[in-house]
Symmetry: C2
């Protein structure tokens, strides 16, 4: 299946999610861990679309989600920074999901500068994460 | 907002719905009424995307759906036949929603031939409609 860049943008405007998870982690200096991820969830009957996305971006994994749903997921910071983010900068989202995307970019940028390893930086990232995905969790 | 055809296909692969409603209607010879509709539902914050779809296709309406959701809806048979269906024939859907689309086309075709006004034709349409939208109702 060959995907067109604009088809991907439309599909992600509908089904995609830019999410920043924050979880407690006693091993970290700040006491927290930041987990940015880009995900697209589909019913398992459309798993071939998720594999096509994986192939297009050249990164990420396809994993079983809850029930009969499957998820394409990119968590590796380098892949987010060098593959996912440049794609959506070049091909902008049309829905309000673009607001989450821009916040997501800011978090990834702060992590690239290792700001998440400082208490102050982590507080900044947490405040950004709180503004995202207000419709509820969309991680997988 | 200018929409690209492939963006629309991707967005509809994610968020669109081809639905055939069948309701009891004592005024009809067959006792039933067929209501095919193409819909895209979004949170009200993205209502501008729905108006952009309305403008692109040159048909349909944008109406409030339940809660804070809005819906772009095309019900007019002529618009479905001459605008919506030709678009998705030219620009095929990539997900399994394409199966619903092909069934939808068969129903619209049968209605164009007035088959829905006969008991036999209505039985055929009902059997087709039952195979669609198994994920639950998606009308608005």
């Amino acid at each position: 299946m060959n995907l067109d860049a604009q088809w991907i943008v439309g599909f992600v405007d509908g089904e995609g999610c830019f999410h920043v998870g924050i979880s407690k982690h006693s091993g970290m200096t700040t006491g927290f861990q930041v987990l940015p991820e880009f995900t697209v969830v589909q019913h398992e009957r459309d798993i071939q679309v998720l594999f096509a996305l994986k192939q297009y971006f050249g990164c990420g994994v396809v994993r079983k989600n809850h029930d009969a749903r499957q998820c394409f997921r990119v968590r590796k910071l380098e892949d987010l920074r060098e593959k996912i983010i440049p794609f959506f900068r070049k091909h902008p989202l049309k829905t309000r999901k673009s607001v989450d995307f821009h916040t997501f970019c800011r978090v990834v940028n702060l992590m690239t500068q290792n700001k998440h390893l400082t208490v102050e930086g982590m507080a900044h990232i947490r405040s950004l994460a709180e503004t995202m995905n207000r419709r509820g969790s969309c991680s997988c």
